[in-house]
Symmetry: C2
Subunit: 142 residues, 2 copies
Amino acid sequence: MTSRPGGSYDGGMREPYPDGMPEPLDPHMFTDCPPVSPPIRLGGKWTAKIIRCLESGPRRFTELQIPLRGITPKVLTESLRAMERDGLLTRTAYDEIPPRVEYELTGLGRSLLEPMNAGCEWSRRHLPDLMRARDAWHAAIP
Amino acid sequence: MTSRPGGSYDGGMREPYPDGMPEPLDPHMFTDCPPVSPPIRLGGKWTAKIIRCLESGPRRFTELQIPLRGITPKVLTESLRAMERDGLLTRTAYDEIPPRVEYELTGLGRSLLEPMNAGCEWSRRHLPDLMRARDAWHAAIP
DNA sequence: CAGTATCCGCTTTGATACTG
DNA sequence: CAGTATCAAAGCGGATACTG
């Protein structure tokens, strides 16, 4: 029994990141709430996190990479493009050298914070229950 | 650009199902709300749907298979086991022949309906916006 | 800086067949 | 009925290298 539909897509999560680096964005993100069995997720693996990162204002590509802990440019690009396509954020490219691109939440994207917060609140309230359930399970079937 | 972080896990969704069959459970499920780019998902692919199926009372294994539209027994078992482990539902086996097993939401599982409904409400309210965004995108980059 | 372009691989899901 | 056992196929994200 290796499959965990409750929280498994994160299999390839990379932790190694050059620490000591500044984190311009608040790392307190939605998906950080539930350390066990993420109850609610949004779109792909990064969508919710990106929304949290943009909550307090527009950010640049590289700025997003920092709090997203080593997300590869390919995946970040894909995620941003998808969110742009869905009207969750806007992409503004400034014609400068070096290039500058800023991503900003749209009203639609921002409106997602509400249900996200509902999920977050659920996590806060029921995390102890989840932990207890997990413990009971492991105690019964070790 | 083939990957869509906003709505891709459902890639292998099978539609072919012997119709004419009765559907004992209400097919109006959370994940049915957003026809485009599912905004909020719960755990694995089936978790939210299973919760909806159990909303109005306990159901048997085979009963769940009907509204879940051809989910394979393997995957259904995995999902149910995971949810049982997380304390979202209980599994009760009756020692009869033929065997009977019933699955029922716990209070914890039922409490998830609240954030789920929040996501559902978001979908209802903003589906037009999503559609418009998608249309605009396709109009610009055909 | 802000990406593209390839290649890669585990995880998750599904198909099919078989039991207690 | 309620699963388990295998096998097979994507899915989705990641590593690495390379541009305008």
